[in-house]
Amino acid sequence: MALARSGVAVMQKLAMLLPLVSAVLMSSPVRAEPVKGIDGRTVEVAVPKRVVAVNSALVEILFALGKGDTVVGTDVAGTYPPALEKIAKVGHPYHPSVEGIISLTPDVVVASEENMPSATAEQLRSAKLPVLVLENSSKDGVEGLKRRISQLARLYQVPEAGQRMIQDIDTRLGALQKKIAAVKKKPRILFLYAHGPGEAFVYGRDTGVHVLIELAGGQNAADFTTGTKVLTAEGMVQASPDAIILLHRGLKAVGGPEGVLKMPGVALTPAGQQRKIFAVDDTIRWVGPRFPQFADTLFNDLHATPRP
């Protein structure tokens, strides 16, 4: 009884202390860390509590940094992590809605260069919202990814978490490098962006797809630098890929590997003859933190012993 009473007394004292403690915590100044975007504009936000992130790779970085609960809005393209489903969507990844973003009252908007038209950024800034524009999400492959990770880690003032992410990426890629060195073969890989059996686009070298192919120890069978080209039967035969990759949704849309074999020219390529047709994650157009895993999976798919 007495014990219980003294317990209560202690609790009461603690309860009295609480406002004081929280007041001290609140008043401790949270210094804003200036972070400079690719467009030369610097944002200074004391640790963001609400952020709108346009670009699925950036969203993934935020979640990996343990800051997923600060994401209050994003574009419609992200599929990972599943928690994204419940987050408000501010539109097409390349055409986010200005007022939609503002209505979510974020402390800061972060976006990749390609997902934030400069006019949109200006409109947001004229509504007094800080906008951090980071490098294009496919530029400079993994090096670019690491830079974006450390910039976001700086924005949230968790540089160690950023460092850990980067180390993790290096470790995974190092392990993959050893596996790649052991096979000494660079398969030619072609990426098809398909919406249905009727049509598909081949992606060139200036894309996240290209980064993934290189990381998996392959070479891009597409011989052009920028942009996309419509798939033609002769183009397919000429590219002569050892493997063909599609997005998960692309593979589904064309009717699985069987459907791919029926696409123009595919049956005449080594990939078609050996049925080396694989699906990759839907978000690979934006180089994100899961790229080492994606590359590892792709490597394993490429070099799996064929079933008899």
Binding site: G73, V76, A88, K89, V90, G91, H92, Y94, H95, S97, V98, E99, G100, I101, I102, S103, L104, T105, E114, S118, A119, T120, E122, Q123, S126, A127, K128, D206, T207, T226, G227, T228, V230
Partner: protein, 349 residues
């Protein structure tokens, strides 16, 4: 004879104005107050009051003020200007070509603008910074109209039937040129083109509004000025000529005004279909085809409908938004069909 043509005509225009002026005001106020960021009508008024130094009626957040001033107000202004330009140009062209199907798009306005925008996008031209695309669109539409008009010019006269046919041919040419550029474009460029062709007022800033306003003003005032000659033209070209109307000069003036107003509108907003075709018809179906009523009332109705469409585009999928071209055609086309069918039923015994 003062008041000779008065009763019926004044009645119609006044009636129209009595309906359409409040309609435009209602659309503007509704549009200013509605959107992803909510601002009540009294807050809208308070924010505007504070701008001119009057006391505020109610409290508002700095964020609401910023959204209203920097984003929504220029956007609504642009909606009014673009809608007015498209509708009045449609009305005048239908009168000039004496063809109910005529709309600015038919003379190559949008086709020429598309080609120019596709070209500067694909060749990565940025000589004028953010103004490159609008200026290119404007020049493109101007070029296309000039080509169409001069092809239709024979023996010192403009052949109206020829002009329509040339417009169709030039448009076909423009479509395939745009297609060619689209084929050559990279991913990013393709997206720019696709969004431009769906039309949007999302890029509205005070800079673009102030560039657009004088051009649209000249277009609207000029067209309204030409209402009487346009009425005379309804009697046929030779009759109009006998009435002392300088028909050739009239044609060129109207075509220049269309190029000016619609070219500027297309430049800032991309392609917005159906307003230029539908609005004059709506006015004509209910108030007759006297240009002195048709032109100003089309201007008002076009402005109202575009502001309303933009309101829908901004709000149906909050916090995302639709391109406005989708809204105008999706809502406009069925409504237009309904009106046409009703009209036919009324006139068939």
């Amino acid at each position: 004879m003062p008041g000779f043509h008065a009763p019926a005509f004044w009645g119609r225009r006044t009636r129209g104005l009595l309906v359409l002026v409040p309609l435009l005001l209602a659309c503007v106020i509704a549009s200013l107050g509605t959107g992803a960021v909510s601002i009540s009508p009294t807050q809208v008024i308070s924010i505007l009051f504070e701008q001119v130094g009057l006391p505020r009626l109610t409290d508002f957040t700095p964020q609401q003020a910023a959204v209203l001033q920097a984003i929504r107000l220029p956007r609504v202004c642009m909606g009014v200007l673009v809608g007015a330009a498209l509708a009045v140009a449609g009305a005048a062209l239908q009168g000039l070509l004496r063809n109910p199907l005529a709309d600015p798009g038919l003379l190559g306005v949008s086709g020429g603008a598309s080609v120019a925008v596709a070209a500067v996008t694909v060749f990565n031209l940025r000589v004028l910074g953010t103004f490159t695309v609008p200026v290119a669109a404007f020049l493109g539409s101007l070029m296309a109209i000039l080509v169409v008009s001069s092809l239709a010019h024979e023996n010192g006269r403009t052949n109206v039937a020829m002009m329509l046919l040339c417009g169709i041919a030039i448009n076909a040419l423009c479509v395939s040129c745009t297609g060619l550029f689209t084929y050559l474009s990279t991913d990013d460029q393709l997206r720019i083109l696709a969004f431009w062709q769906l039309g949007s007022l999302a890029g509205a800033t005070w800079t673009s509004v102030s560039a657009l306003a004088p051009l649209v003003l000249v277009c609207v005032v000029g067209m309204t000025w030409l209402a009487n000659p346009l009425n005379a033209l309804l009697l046929g070209e030779s009759n109009a000529r006998h009435l002392g109307i300088p028909v050739e000069r009239l044609k060129w003036t109207i075509i220049s005004l269309v190029a000016l107003g619609v070219g500027a509108a297309v430049a800032v907003s991309g392609m917005i279909g159906f307003i230029g075709l539908m609005v004059p018809h709506l006015v004509r179906l209910s108030l007759g085809s006297n240009h002195r009523a048709l032109l100003p009332l089309s201007t008002l109705l076009g402005a109202s409908l575009l502001v309303l469409s933009d309101l829908v585009a901004r709000t149906v999928v909050i916090p995302s938004e639709l391109p406005i071209g989708i809204v105008t055609s999706l809502a406009g086309a069925p409504f237009f069909l309904y009106l046409l069918l009703r009209q036919r039923r009324l006139h068939t015994p």
